[in-house]
């Protein structure tokens, strides 16, 4: 197995259906340790579906998904192992509204990793400081701005010390003035070497941090390339049309 060791996430010939709807077609993707991937494409192209399959929020019809040597099957243990190792950040934050920021961050380490309260709190404070929100630890999510809430959501995922992070349009529910603070947090994470798959239309972010940009349409990966080449020289007509639209809007 030596030589494949630095491949953290591998998807092979993945097919996904919602009922009769074919949502992912023959998706093949490998992500190396420390690699940053930006996933883009038109609405409904299957970007969310792709990353949600990686931590089994969605089950696939056929194909293989292997994360850090663990093959994702219907076996609950495999699913638990992978969810413990892969963090996810959602468009709508999905913080737990009845818990303080600190409690949000402590819950999973306490219940899943079974660490002591003291250790969970120390970890939570460390990552809250890291996303520069340590001074809001005792507040409830509703008392924070959208950008602050999303940074808490990032800290909450980091508290499980994941080996990879999945982001599903983390800035698209935010007011424009809050987008930067969240992107800066993600850039910091990228610079620290975190393996990341980000669904985003923030092309500035893609240029700055992505090792590869992947374009999806109608459930397929249509093209992938290094950001420079991807933006300068898109191969497919669909990609060109999509980029034209995105850049016109920004």
């Amino acid at each position: 197995m030596a030589g494949t060791d630095d491949i953290l996430i591998r998807m092979e010939k993945v097919e996904k259906y919602y009922g009769n709807f074919h949502a992912m077609r023959d998706v093949n993707l490998t992500v190396r340790r420390g690699e940053k991937i930006v996933l883009c494409g038109p609405s409904g192209s299957g970007k969310s579906t792709l990353i949600r399959c990686i931590n089994h929020l969605e089950a696939i019809r056929s194909g293989r998904i292997v994360v850090d040597g663990t093959e994702l099957t219907d076996n609950p243990q495999a699913i638990d192992t992978i969810r413990r190792e892969v963090g996810m950040v959602f468009q709508q934050f999905n913080l737990f509204p009845h818990m303080t920021v600190l409690e949000n961050c402590m819950l999973a380490p306490l219940r899943v990793r079974k660490v002591s309260r003291a250790e969970a709190e120390a970890t939570a404070r460390k990552y809250l400081d890291r996303v520069r929100i340590g001074n809001q630890a005792e507040k409830y999510p509703a008392q924070l701005s959208g950008g602050q809430q999303q940074r808490v959501a990032i800290a909450r995922a980091l508290c499980m010390e994941p080996i990879a992070m999945l982001f599903d349009e983390p800035t698209s529910a935010l007011d424009p003035e809050m987008v930067k603070e969240v992107l800066d947090t993600m850039i910091g994470l990228a610079n620290d070497g975190m393996t990341m798959i980000c669904v985003t239309h923030e092309m500035g972010f893609a240029r700055q941090v992505a090792d590869r940009v992947i374009f999806m349409a109608e459930g397929q990966i249509l093209e992938e390339n290094q950001p420079d080449a991807f933006f300068r020289n898109p191969r497919h007509e669909r990609t060109r049309a999509f980029l034209g639209e995105i850049l016109a809007h920004h």
Binding site: M88, N94, V112
Partner: protein
């Protein structure tokens, strides 16, 4: 006239009304919790059983449920005292209604909460206990209190199997004193004084919840 003796008799009836309500509500909370969990279980057969249980008790009159339990338990070889049979019937009745109220509340918690819990690797217990149920409980409080009021009034049906709670006590006193209007006026007032503050409380919680979710 209504003397101290009659009042004491009515007082005992009132105590039984409160006791039956408390028993039915407590039992209903325990079993209703299980019914609600079964109703949202990943296991299909468990969901079906719970759905059947709810359908039976919501689809038939409480009066009939009291009869069936009261006359049915002895056929099964149990011979509980009248209050025991009534308590069993009220508990079963309450478990179905509370189970359905809480099923709705659990499903009203946004799906993103479950997804976030899954994504963090939380198992079923932690997901329910720490994430879903605390939010569902808050959402369900107004309806739960509303049902408590219903149940309190529903205990008056226990009179039909000869059990002397407040309403039956009133009937007896009224027959003895020939003052039905006075007696039942008094009894109506007692029910009202018990139920109205509860209804108000439920309404206040509902408004507060609406304000909180509108934020």
């Amino acid at each position: 006239m209504i003397g101290p003796q009659e009042l004491a008799f009515l007082g005992r009836g009132l105590m039984w009304t409160l006791a039956l309500t408390a028993i039915g509500f407590t039992g209903g909370i325990v079993f209703g919790f299980l019914v609600a969990l079964a109703r949202v279980s990943p296991l299909k057969w468990l969901r079906w059983i719970a759905a059947g249980w709810i359908a039976v008790f919501q689809g038939t009159p409480l009066l009939m449920q009291l009869f069936v339990v009261y006359f049915g338990l002895p056929l099964l070889g149990f011979s509980p005292p009248a209050w025991g049979a009534v308590a069993v019937a009220l508990t079963a009745h309450a478990s179905a209604f509370l189970g359905e109220i809480w099923r709705g509340a659990i499903q009203a918690v946004p799906g993103g909460q479950t997804e976030a819990a899954h994504a963090l690797g939380l198992g079923y217990r932690a997901r329910m206990r720490d994430v879903i149920l605390p939010q569902a409980l808050r959402l369900s409080l107004p309806a739960t209190i509303g049902f408590l009021v219903q149940l309190l009034k529903g205990t008056s049906l226990a009179a039909i199997v000869g059990f002397i709670e407040l309403t039956r006590a009133g009937q007896i006193v009224s027959n003895q004193t020939f003052k039905p209007l006075l007696v039942f006026g008094l009894i109506g007032l007692i029910y009202f004084l018990l139920c109205w503050p509860l209804s108000r409380l439920g309404r206040r919680m509902e408004l507060r919840l609406a304000a909180a979710t509108a934020r």
